[in-house]
C-alpha cells in the first residue's frame, strides 16, 4: 500500500483535530472561536489538497498547454471561507455582548453568574 500519498492528509487531520480540541476544551469564548477558525481552515486545506493534479497549475487558462488542477474544490472553499468569516463575526459579536452583560467571557464564570440569579 502506498502510504506516502496519505501523509499529507494525516497532517491535515491532525490540524483539524487541534482546532476541534480548542473548541471543545477551552473555556474562553474568544479562544473557542479561534479554534473554530483553525478547524475550518484545516478542512479547507483538506478540500484543496484533493483537487491537486500532479504537475498541474492554477486553473486559469494560459497560452501554453498545461494540466490544470481541479477548479471545483476551489469554488467550494471560496464559499466556505465566506461562511467561516460570517460565523466568526457573529460569534465575536455575541462574545462582545456577553462580556457586557456578564462582565466575563469565561464559560465557568458565566455559568456561576447564571446560577446566582
Amino acid at each position: 500500500m502506498n502510504w506516502v500519498g496519505l501523509y499529507n492528509y494525516w497532517i491535515v487531520i491532525f490540524l483539524m483535530m487541534t482546532g476541534f480540541y480548542i473548541v471543545v476544551s477551552q473555556g474562553n469564548l474568544v479562544k473557542k472561536l479561534v479554534g473554530l477558525n483553525l478547524f475550518q481552515t484545516s478542512v479547507f486545506i483538506q478540500y484543496i489538497s484533493m483537487g491537486k493534479m500532479p504537475g498541474g497549475t492554477a486553473p486559469i487558462e494560459s497560452s501554453a498547454p498545461a494540466v490544470y488542477s481541479n477548479p471545483l474544490p476551489h469554488v467550494l472553499i471560496l464559499t466556505a471561507i465566506v461562511v467561516g468569516v460570517a460565523t466568526t463575526a457573529l460569534g465575536l459579536a455575541l462574545a462582545v455582548r456577553i462580556k457586557q452583560a456578564y462582565g466575563t467571557v469565561e464559560e465557568d464564570r458565566i455559568r456561576e453568574e447564571d446560577r446566582n440569579v
Binding site: 471543545v24 483538506q46 467550494l76 461562511v83 460570517a86 457573529l90 456577553i98
Partner: protein, 493 residues
C-alpha cells in the same frame, strides 16, 4: 413563466425580500413585507405540492446548467410536503410576530429582525428542496446564522449565551457536514445528490464512505438535537423571542430530520445505511433513552418554554425512532409526526407567546390562574396540549398511532409500552401547566391582565384548529406521508 420557475421562487422570493426589509428600515413596513412574502411562499408551496402530486418530481436547474454541472432543485412528494409545513408555519408565525416583536425587540432592530426571519425561512425552504450536497451546506448556514441572530435578540441576557452555545455547536455540526460532503466528493467526483446516490452503489466497502457517513450523521444529529447532542436546544428555545421560539421549534429541527432522511435513504441508500452501517442500532436506543429521559426532565421544569423545549427533544426522538424502524409504516409515522409536531409545537409556543405578551413571563408560578383572564389563549394551549399527548381526534393521535403500528409490526412490545409511558409523562408535565392556569388562584402581586389581542390570538387559533381539523380529516397528511415513505423505501413509483 411563473409556473416554470416555482421552485426557484420558493426560495429566492424570501431571500430577496430580506435586503428589501433592510432597505425599508422601519419595523411595520418590514413586517408587512415579510408577512406578504410568507403568504406568497405558502401559496407557492401549495402550488408546488399540487404540481408534484399531478406530474411527479419537479427538477429545476439553476442557470440552465444540467444537473451534475450546475445546481439543481428537486421537488418530490416528500419535499413538497415538508415545504408546505415550513411555509405554513411561517405564514402563521409572521403575522403573529407584529405585536409580539413590538413588545420584545428594540424598535431599531425590528427591520433587521424581520430580515433575519426571512433569511431563516429562505434557508429552511432551500434545504428542503436542494438537490446538491454542497448547496445544502450553504443554505444550512444561511438559516443557522440567521437563527443565531434571532435567538440572541431575546430580552434575557441568557439569550446571548444560548445563542453563542448554539453557534458553536451548530458550526461544529456544519463543519462535520462539510467534512462528510468533502469525503463523498472525493470518492465520487460529484456533488449532485442523485448522481452521488448512483455512484455510491459500488463503493459500499470503502472505509472512506463509512467515515463520510458517520460524519454526516453526527453533523446532522447536532443540527436536529439528536439526544446526546441536544444541549443547545433548551436554552435557545427558552430565551429566544416568542415568535422565534415558535418558528424554530416548529420548523428547524423538522427540516434537519428531513435532511437526515434524505441522506440515509436517498443518498446512501437503505441498504448501506441500515445493513452495512446499522445506523438503526444507534438511532433506536438513543431515541428510546431520549424520549424517556427528556420527558422526565420536562416534568421538573418551572419555565414552560423550557419544559416544551425538552419535550421537543423527546418528540424529535419519536421521529428518529420511526426512521430507525425502517419500514414503510415507521417512515410514515416519522413523516406524519414531523408534520404534526410542527403544528402542535407551533400552536403551543404561540399561545405561550400570547401569555408572555400580557404578563411578561412564562414561569409556572406567574401563570397561576391565568386561564380566567385569558380564556381563549389557554383554550388554544389546552387543545394543542391534548394533541401533544395524543388524544384521539387530534393530529398527535394520528402519528402516535402509526408509530405504535410500526412497532407492533416488528413485534417490539417494549417500544410500544415505552411510547405509552412517555405519553403519560407528557400528560404529567402538561397537566402542571393546566393545573396552574386553571385551578390555582391568581398571585396577589400580579396586575390584572386582559385577553391577548386579536393579532396574537388569531394565528394561535389557526394552528390549534389545524391540529383538530387534520386530526379528523387525515386523508391529505397520511396519504402524502405514506406515499413519500414508500418512495423513500424504494417501493413506490
Amino acid at each position: 413563466m411563473i409556473a416554470a420557475n416555482l421552485p426557484a421562487l420558493q426560495v429566492v422570493l424570501p431571500l430577496l425580500s430580506a435586503p428589501l426589509c433592510v432597505l425599508l428600515g422601519r419595523g411595520r413596513a418590514a413586517w408587512l413585507l415579510a408577512t406578504v412574502v410568507s403568504w406568497l411562499a405558502l401559496a407557492i408551496a401549495a402550488a408546488l405540492l399540487r404540481q408534484v402530486l399531478a406530474q411527479g418530481a419537479v427538477h429545476y436547474a439553476f442557470g440552465d446548467w444540467a444537473a451534475p454541472w450546475g445546481i439543481e432543485y428537486v421537488v418530490d412528494g416528500t419535499a413538497a410536503f415538508v415545504l408546505l409545513i415550513v411555509a405554513g408555519i411561517a405564514a402563521t408565525v409572521f403575522p403573529y410576530s407584529l405585536l409580539s416583536v413590538e413588545k420584545e425587540v428594540d424598535p431599531e432592530r425590528q427591520a433587521l429582525f424581520y430580515a433575519a426571519m426571512l433569511l431563516c425561512l429562505a434557508g429552511l425552504l432551500g434545504i428542503v428542496i436542494t438537490g446538491d450536497a454542497f448547496n445544502l451546506f450553504v443554505l444550512l448556514e444561511i438559516s443557522a446564522l440567521s437563527t443565531y441572530t434571532l435567538v440572541s435578540l431575546g430580552q434575557d441576557r441568557r439569550a446571548l449565551t444560548a445563542a453563542y452555545q448554539y453557534l458553536i455547536l451548530g458550526t461544529i455540526g456544519a463543519t462535520f457536514i462539510l467534512i462528510g460532503v468533502g469525503l463523498l466528493y472525493m470518492l465520487t467526483g460529484t456533488l449532485n445528490m442523485a448522481d452521488l446516490a448512483e455512484r455510491i452503489e459500488g463503493l459500499h466497502q470503502s472505509r472512506t464512505l463509512q467515515t463520510a457517513f458517520a460524519f454526516l450523521v453526527v453533523g446532522i444529529g447536532l443540527k436536529l438535537a439528536l439526544f446526546p447532542m441536544h444541549l443547545w436546544l433548551p436554552n435557545a428555545y427558552t430565551y429566544a423571542p416568542s415568535a422565534v421560539s415558535a418558528l424554530l421549534s416548529a420548523t428547524a429541527t423538522k427540516v434537519a430530520v428531513y435532511v437526515l432522511l434524505r441522506f440515509l435513504f436517498t443518498i446512501f441508500g437503505t441498504w448501506f445505511s441500515f445493513s452495512d452501517m446499522n445506523v438503526d442500532w444507534i438511532l433506536i436506543p438513543l431515541a428510546l433513552v431520549a424520549t424517556f429521559s427528556m420527558s422526565l426532565v420536562a416534568i421538573f421544569q418551572n419555565n414552560v418554554k423550557r419544559m416544551l423545549a425538552y419535550s421537543s427533544v423527546a418528540q424529535v426522538a419519536y421521529m428518529t425512532l420511526g426512521i430507525g424502524i425502517v419500514t414503510v409504516t415507521g417512515l410514515t409515522a416519522a413523516l406524519l409526526h414531523l408534520f404534526n409536531h410542527a403544528l402542535i409545537k407551533g400552536a403551543l409556543f404561540l399561545a405561550l407567546g400570547a401569555v408572555f405578551y400580557r404578563i411578561g413571563s412564562v414561569q409556572l408560578d406567574r401563570m397561576q390562574g391565568i386561564a380566567r383572564e385569558m380564556p381563549w389563549t389557554m383554550a388554544a394551549f389546552v387543545l394543542a396540549a391534548l394533541s401533544l399527548i395524543g388524544v384521539p381526534m387530534t393530529v398527535g393521535f394520528v402519528s402516535k398511532w402509526y408509530l405504535i403500528l410500526a412497532a407492533l409490526e416488528k413485534g417490539w412490545w417494549l417500544v410500544v409500552v415505552l411510547i405509552l409511558i412517555t405519553s403519560l409523562m407528557a400528560v404529567v408535565y402538561l397537566w402542571r401547566v393546566i393545573e396552574a392556569a386553571y385551578f390555582r388562584p391568581r398571585p396577589a402581586d400580579r396586575e390584572a391582565v386582559s385577553e391577548a389581542p386579536w393579532g396574537l390570538l388569531l394565528p394561535t387559533w389557526v394552528l390549534a384548529l389545524a391540529n383538530l381539523y387534520l386530526g379528523i380529516d387525515t386523508d391529505l397528511s397520511v396519504g402524502v406521508a405514506g406515499e413519500a415513505a414508500q418512495r423513500l423505501m424504494g417501493l413506490g413509483p
